[in-house]
């Protein structure tokens, strides 16, 4: 990272990535727009949108940061028998099955307390839990693939992996949430 922080230099380094990522995010926005009426008729599903995509991105970014640090410290090898890789992946899966059912309970409760929920709590919790389980697996796959690609390309995992993983998980979060809603409601 250069030691002079000029607006022009920072922007030149960051803007291309930011613009590409925003186009990718518009893609997931178009999927939301496609099902806007469905979401507007059930406010608890609308409440699930930011928290689901945010939590999916966070699951990926926590794993990415841990793998990146372990890799920098020379503690990690990209091999299916690496205990550190497997242990971190297992923790990510466990975190997703812990957090997402609570997200469902929280989303239903918050909706009921504010604008009134129209779906039963069991449906909202089922949507959140199933989305979370699928997203946990996807977050692990995306993070390990991206970290491995950065490692093979000789790139610093800190620069590349985090934005790619968070934004990929955002987009997957929308797709999986909408898919689960269509399946369960």
């Amino acid at each position: 990272m250069p030691t002079e922080w000029r607006v022009r230099d920072i922007s030149r380094a960051m803007l291309p990535v930011l613009l590409v990522l925003s186009v990718v995010e518009i893609g997931s926005g178009l999927v939301l727009g496609e099902y806007e009426e469905r979401l507007l008729t059930s406010p608890s599903l609308l409440v699930l949108v930011p928290v689901t995509i945010g939590t999916a991105g966070n699951l990926g970014s926590v794993l990415a940061a841990r793998l990146s640090t372990a890799f920098h410290l020379g503690l990690l090898e990209f091999s299916p028998t690496d205990d550190r890789l497997a242990g971190n992946a297992l923790a990510t899966a466990a975190l997703s099955v812990t957090v997402f059912p609570l997200v469902g309970v929280g989303a239903w409760g918050a909706t009921e307390a504010t604008v009134g929920a129209r779906l039963p709590p069991t449906t909202v919790v089922a949507v959140s839990t199933l989305s979370g389980a699928i997203l946990g697996v996807l977050a692990i796959a995306v993070t390990i693939t991206t970290a491995y690609a950065a490692y093979r390309l000789g790139a610093d995992p800190d620069d590349l992996v985090l934005p790619v993983v968070t934004n990929a998980c955002d987009v997957l979060g929308v797709l999986v949430l909408i898919g689960t809603v269509l399946l369960l409601t």
């Binding site: 178009l30 409440v47 930011p50 945010g54 991105g57 926590v62 497997a86 929280g106």
Partner: protein, 190 residues
């Protein structure tokens, strides 16, 4: 270390940050759930939501990471001094890029929706909402990120571990709240 002990440690360390950002995400969801009137009034606004929230995270996450590395390297001091050119440059770039990318996203969304005959709200409405929301949430996020990173560092915490949870939590909360305020403001003016 065995798989089990690695997993237990990672789980324990990951849970608090994830729980905090989940609460932020739920708050953002409640704001979005209460915005059904605005979403109906400004066609295409929902399409913009993921891009605007992600831009907050990307831009201010990078600002936080830059400030954290700068503190570690001794390039900046952990106090707010607007005469410091590095601090001004980092904050100016974040605010400028945040607004620029928001306006770009609004334009792309409008273009795609128009080409798809989805009949979005006028371009000027979407761009105005993106600009006002970008400025307001950018200002709030700058204050939050600079304060937490500097105060945390002065108290002996590692700013690297603070940035992620702070940006994801406040990014969602400020991002949605100021999007709602910006939308109401622009609907009121036009």
């Amino acid at each position: 270390m065995s798989i089990g002990s690695v997993a237990r440690e990672a789980y324990r360390e990951g849970l608090p940050a994830l729980a905090a950002s989940t609460i932020g995400g739920l708050f953002a969801g409640v704001v979005l759930g209460g915005m059904r009137g605005e979403l109906g009034a400004v066609s295409g606004l929902l399409v913009l939501v993921p891009a605007l929230l992600a831009t907050r995270g990307n831009v201010y996450g990078s600002l936080g990471a830059r400030l954290a590395s700068g503190l570690h390297q001794g390039l900046i001091e952990p106090r707010v001094d607007w005469a410091d050119e590095r601090l001004r440059g980092a904050v100016g770039a974040a605010l400028g890029n945040g607004v620029l990318v928001s306006v770009f996203a609004a334009t792309v969304a409008w273009l795609v929706l128009t080409l798809g005959n989805a009949d979005p709200a006028p371009l000027v409405t979407l761009v105005a909402i993106a600009t006002v929301a970008g400025l307001l949430s950018g200002t709030a996020l700058t204050v939050a990120v600079v304060t937490v990173v500097f105060v945390g560092y002065r108290r002996g915490l590692n700013p690297d571990t603070l940035v992620g949870p702070i940006v994801t939590t406040t990014g969602d909360v400020f991002g949605m709240t100021f999007l709602l305020l910006a939308t109401r403001f622009v609907i009121g003016v036009t």
